[in-house]
Symmetry: C2
Subunit: 478 residues, 2 copies
């Protein structure tokens, strides 16, 4: 019984040690475990169920927009990876190499895919011939491997899970529209489903994807003031098509190169959920992706009728939400803490007195607000409350981001702000990579994005004082 | 326009060249394409949609039985693979080895998982402590890699997709029940959803999984008389638990080893669908997993009202089945052939005369039976017809299997039957591995399984004449 009565252990507070708070949550909420393979995670059932919910929502959106899922090989022959010069330069230093199959050395090394542009292009070369074959709108759900030196659960791991969309279009215009469309899918998903406000914008040349002509990003601000790149969408022009000799015959019977995009969102976003919404009691999950949306906890469950009523409610609510009931021997207090740790959006308490009054108590995870609800009104009230939780989470995250967004007009101001105030710093930029490098070196910030919503903060570059071209969001980043 | 008017090319007939017929179908029905990586497939949208349907049905069944999905690493350190002696012997010769990460040689080689028993055990060691932690019912959907020398699309590939269930139980009894339960899930899935009749039984020691105490299998018979192992379920006893030092404290506070199972079904089953149901016009898909269940083909689509009516039906039927409408410029004849090639279970034809009569024509893929159906009755009639297709496919496959199942009571008879009549051969066996090897050598057959439904065919072993212990299904196999 000693085992059963143990308390839910407290986690390190955010204030005390943010990094430890983060790893405490991923472990105590049972999202993942460390494996014997350096930098590779074991994603446990609760963590994987979150990813499955993310996958199902996004997959539905992709398919509604005409995308189709495929499965490409896990391996890329070295010669294939080398076909596009910028791409291989970007990825070769961080791939895992397979050199032997069974006892035999392979004639050519294979890398474990770090991303699959080259594989898709190799296939597109075989299947794209005429304008009628376009567009090709493919996507795959898989894991990829990048040999990172320093790793952190979900945020940066050697193996991680993602979806990668790879599309081919007849014209540059169409491909650019696709790039923008998919960035918007990600932004809407983050804001409307995950309650994470994001800044949409374009990456500077220095920060763009290896081989891309343009990289677009959504950037979210974490609790500790660091930025998280949460989804990216790339426009490749016809660069890969030329390297892979992919051509199609247009309506006038002339050969043309198609134009390409790719876009991805990964398990990293689970780190983003934790660090946007979590608090010192644990995880706070957006209802859309919470494996359990409502946890029913019977009070004084040994009393006659309580467990029966709790079970009756579970069976009823199963039709409208993801619900569980915990009838274990643990105390209600233990259960409250446990499911707060796990970030369950709503707790439903039901005891003998509630049953007498034909009511129950619903407690929101995000602000602990209690509501007494008639048992007759549950089907109407629960969706309402889940939506209120989502809205509450979004508003809180947005208010924090606004509070933690600063501006700087001089290098001194940039250094001081970066040093003293964690968050985004908006500042003007001349467009010169030398200034980006200097800001990184002297203020420790990188350019997060050139936001679509531009503001005019000053006439001159925050770094060099020459005429400014663009407003940029700067910050420290994961 | 020349491109548009091309005919659907005929495929090689089954009679003429079965292997070529098979590869013609996988290519012409656009299930897969070959990649630049030896033995690794590209699964194209239509093929992957079949796998997604298989996954969704099985995943639902697994979850209903209390299983949870997780994600284990892609890599296994060499030392971990070596912990269980039989297991490493079975798999080490056919794994891909990662030796370098980026520019650096790894301190220990990693193999790309060929199966994940060792990874699950390594994790279970950390999370199983008390009887309260049992059972653990985990599953994962992923790809695995086995360095096969000879490969064929879906049937044997270097990389293939599967689910692997790995469970831990307090007692041998419970683990054995799980092994049997999951075999039954596979058998029911094959028979009821895929319309593939299977023989359930146990593998001989020679054929069992590396490290298992018992392997159970479902064996299906393909069109050409070869057997296809279509799903397996393994009982491990506490062998891995001992090797990995996984113990739990029982209710009497004593340390115990838990008992283990694993079970898997792979993309190989898509090969099984092709070779069980396909014909010389192409693929024939079981409705449960067909990406398109009903294809609407407008007749004389340039005539007023036809396309509008076809689209109206599509919108209506979308609510009850997976439906598409083809309004391309191709001729109806071309479309008929095309969707027969793709194995669409039902074709719905609608033309001006049908519209006048408020009816349409429904044509079954499995037997080309035509039915005129009133447009008012479609919602009732289509599910009925889909079920009739499934039943028709199953009956046909079962009749063929029965026709192609023989018995033998002497070595001579076995050799003659194996030589002349493709199919299963039922024969008695003494239990000695030497006889299995001799039958393989002299008759070219392997033991497929010792079926649960035993028959007494003779008193003596078909091979050596000593007293028989078991009836065995023998055959040539994929």
């Amino acid at each position: 019984m000693a085992e059963q009565k143990k308390m839910v252990e407290a986690i390190t507070s955010m204030e005390e040690d943010f990094a430890k708070w983060y790893t405490d949550i991923v472990k105590k909420a049972e999202l993942m475990d460390y494996s014997s393979v350096r930098g590779c995670m074991i994603i446990e059932p609760y963590g994987w169920a979150i990813w499955e919910n993310i996958r199902d929502i996004l997959d539905h959106e992709f398919k509604e927009l005409g995308h189709e899922n495929v499965a490409m090989p896990l391996f890329i022959p070295e010669s294939l990876l080398q076909k596009e010069k910028d791409h291989v330069e970007g990825f070769a230093p961080e791939v895992a190499w397979v050199t032997h199959g069974g006892e035999e050395e392979l004639p050519e090394r294979l890398c474990v895919r770090p991303t699959s542009e080259t594989l898709f292009c190799d296939h597109y070369k075989n299947i794209i011939h005429s304008w009628r074959d376009l567009p090709k709108l493919y996507n795959q759900w898989c894991s990829v491997v990048r040999w990172e030196k320093t790793t952190r659960p979900f945020l940066r791991s050697v193996e991680f899970y993602w979806q990668e969309g790879h599309t081919m279009h007849a014209t540059a215009q169409e491909a650019m529209e696709e790039t923008e469309r998919m960035l918007n899918v990600y932004a809407d998903f983050c804001e409307k489903q995950l309650a994470i406000p994001v800044v949409k914008g374009r990456k500077t040349k220095k920060e763009q994807f290896a081989g891309a002509e343009a990289t677009y990003t959504i950037e979210a601000l974490m609790h500790d003031g660091k930025a998280l790149q949460s989804g990216t969408s790339h426009y490749f022009g016809d660069g890969f098509a030329r390297a892979f000799e992919i051509t199609y015959t247009d309506k006038e019977n002339k050969p043309q190169y198609p134009h390409q995009t790719s876009w991805g969102m990964s398990t990293r976003i689970i780190g983003g959920i934790i660090m946007t919404h979590g608090d010192d009691n644990g995880l706070v999950l957006p209802p859309a992706v919470a494996p359990i949306q409502v946890m029913i906890i019977p009070i004084a469950q040994h009393k006659p009728g309580v467990l029966e009523k709790a079970e009756e409610l579970r069976a009823r609510l199963k039709k409208i939400c993801r619900v569980r009931m915990d009838d274990s021997e643990q105390s209600p207090g233990w259960k409250f803490s446990q499911y707060e740790m796990k970030g369950v959006p709503l707790r439903l308490e039901i005891g003998p007195k509630d049953i007498e009054k034909n009511q129950c108590v619903l407690v929101r995870r995000d602000n602990r607000e209690k509501t007494f609800v008639s048992l007759d009104e549950l089907e109407a009230k629960i969706p309402e409350l889940l939506e209120a939780v989502r809205q509450g989470m979004y508003d809180k995250a947005l208010a924090r981001r606004e509070q933690m967004t600063y501006t700087a007009v001089s290098l001194e101001e940039m250094k001081k702000t970066a040093d003293e105030k964690p968050g985004f710093i908006k500042a003007m930029w001349c467009g010169d990579q030398a200034c980006e490098e200097k800001l990184k070196e002297e203020a420790g910030v990188s350019s997060r994005c050139m936001p679509f919503e531009q503001e005019h903060l000053s006439d001159t570059c925050v770094c060099c004082g020459r005429p400014a071209k663009t407003m940029v969001y700067w910050g420290k980043a994961y």
